[in-house]
Symmetry: C2
Subunit: 337 residues, 2 copies
């Protein structure tokens, strides 16, 4: 079950204050007395902890690690539009990953007495948070495992996100800062867009959806993708998109250091952690070339490409042992450093 | 200017009859007395003739060829929902590419006295029509240049098309078979989805949109992509999507031959033409592997990959000389055969 950490007033990257901020988290495994075995595992887009805690065991051994899975702001468990958090507003949702990092740092320190986690493990928006840790907390970040994500959202990725956001706000139920009801039509567009980007052409070419028991791509979307997003408050879906759209370690580093000229190279150059940059061979929105370009700017990074046709989801292979084995090997190599 | 060819009643692949069918066409160059130099150039999605006739000159020499550019059904010039053609209806728009081929065959025969064009040149939905010519009219098809398209719409490509269709029908203006006004919100989703798929990650990574003079991807979509689709009657946009969704030479061949068991290999095996299968290296919805898989089933096909970061639009390189030169070379090699 989720535990809650009360942050009180949180000063945000935007300059605003988030009143009564809360983060939800779950703990797997035991913290050693010397507190040296904490793994921070921030959540990905649209994920609740129970969706992604399969990693405990197949990838992260709870006999060795104390794994702290933290819900990112906006996911409906930590402070979100759906539970009294900031409204969406004209400029979009005001949270940035720097705020997630800030909240996680306080959680680890104040609740666990840990200043520096042994590993930060994240997939997709989780990888974005891991990069922000490396840049904003270089002395506290020992090892980063950044899977299928980038430290700055690319122009191409923005288009995907804009299309998702627009799909929701195009719904008749949208009223400018929320929804008068469930945006059924908008969610249907959203699910179709998501399903087309998050798998890969190769996955569908070999009939991956058929192997999963669906008659065609249309029923795959209706029965698998749509319910996964429909269960969320649609405002939360938009909030998380806004955090993703705003993902940029250069901006975060510039504000943190008072130097607004900080560029991506300077920001990534701040990272002191050993960093595993992991890309999916057929990831359509974080393609290997984008991950490689960032890895080249990180002092202690190694690039690994997951050989898989699962597309973006190669980095979250709940049901696929081959990809799990690749990720386990990445984590093991990283933890020997 | 468009000329019109009156087809009268056209018997459709669906079994229905299209009353008072018309195709619009334009002619470039002169037909030789022996009528051996006619090139058929069927239109692509959302294209009007004036959008795609730049090909005349840079790719197809009007001093050598008589180029007949034919508007496909649904584009707003030939019979379409917007000009009195069939309504969209519950089962979608009833036209299939076999019907385009049927109309074009009659146009060439009855207006030009040509049974067998020297070349059929098509990009995207134009390539789909070229493949249908090869399969349905094997004795009349001498050479096919099929650029960035497939003979059967793949499952992955279906998702892209379904997301576009759903984006339009999610608009509050949709009333079940048409629109009460311009679907502004739906068109905005549509343009974002289209722009994200039709270029490539590499294009945006190198700042292709900046080179074109746009400040960011958002203004690129607003100023370049949205107007290109907004000028159409949205019913026509859906009609052409339905033709694309229904693109399948195996179904067409099965109905034409009375053998509903005809599969893709059997259908493509019917092609007698010399066939240039041209794929774009970074085409996201007709990726090279899909084109290669079909080329392997065509007796006299050669596969060529356009080296370009323009994505799907590498096959319609209005403003890019490097890709034009590659296409010109493909056509020249094909016409030596």
């Amino acid at each position: 079950m989720d535990q809650t950490f009360e942050l009180g007033d949180l000063h945000l990257q935007s300059g605003e204050t988030l009143r009564g901020a809360q983060v939800a988290y779950r703990v797997y495994g035991e913290l050693r007395q010397d507190r040296s075995n904490l793994v921070l595992y921030p959540s990905s887009y649209g994920a609740w902890p129970e969706d992604i805690d399969w990693v405990v065991g197949p990838i992260l051994d709870p006999g060795r690690w104390c794994i702290v899975l933290v819900s990112q702001f906006g996911n409906g468990r930590s402070t979100s539009p759906s539970n009294g958090g900031p409204a969406l507003g004209d400029g979009g949702w005001p949270i940035r990953h720097a705020d997630n990092v800030h909240a996680q740092r306080r959680l680890l320190e104040e609740r666990f007495g840990v200043e520096s986690p042994a590993l930060i493990y994240g997939w997709s928006m989780g990888a974005q948070q891991a990069y922000h840790w490396g840049v904003l907390e270089p002395e506290r970040s020992q090892r980063l495992c950044c899977i299928c994500g980038t430290a700055r959202t690319t122009p191409h990725n923005r288009l995907f996100l804009r299309s998702l956001r627009q799909a929701l706000t195009a719904d008749p139920a949208w009223n400018g800062d929320g929804f008068a009801g469930v945006p059924e039509q908008g969610l249907r567009s959203f699910a179709l867009i998501y399903a087309s980007w998050a798998a890969s052409q190769s996955f569908y070419r070999r009939g991956g959806h058929l192997d999963l028991g669906y008659a065609d791509v249309e029923s795959y979307v209706d029965q698998a993708w749509l319910p996964a997003y429909r269960r969320h408050d649609a405002r939360d879906l938009i909030a998380m998109l806004d955090v993703w759209l705003g993902c940029d370690v250069a901006v975060a580093a510039g504000i943190a250091s008072g130097d607004p000229q900080a560029d991506l190279a300077a920001a990534l150059g701040r990272i002191r952690a050993h960093c595993a940059v992991v890309a999916g061979r057929h990831d359509l929105y974080f393609p290997p070339a984008d991950c490689a370009a960032e890895a080249a700017l990180i002092p202690n990074a190694s690039l690994q490409v997951l050989e898989s046709d699962l597309g973006h989801r190669a980095g979250n292979p709940r049901d696929s042992h081959a990809e799990q084995a690749q990720l386990r090997a990445v984590v093991e190599a990283l933890c020997r450093r």
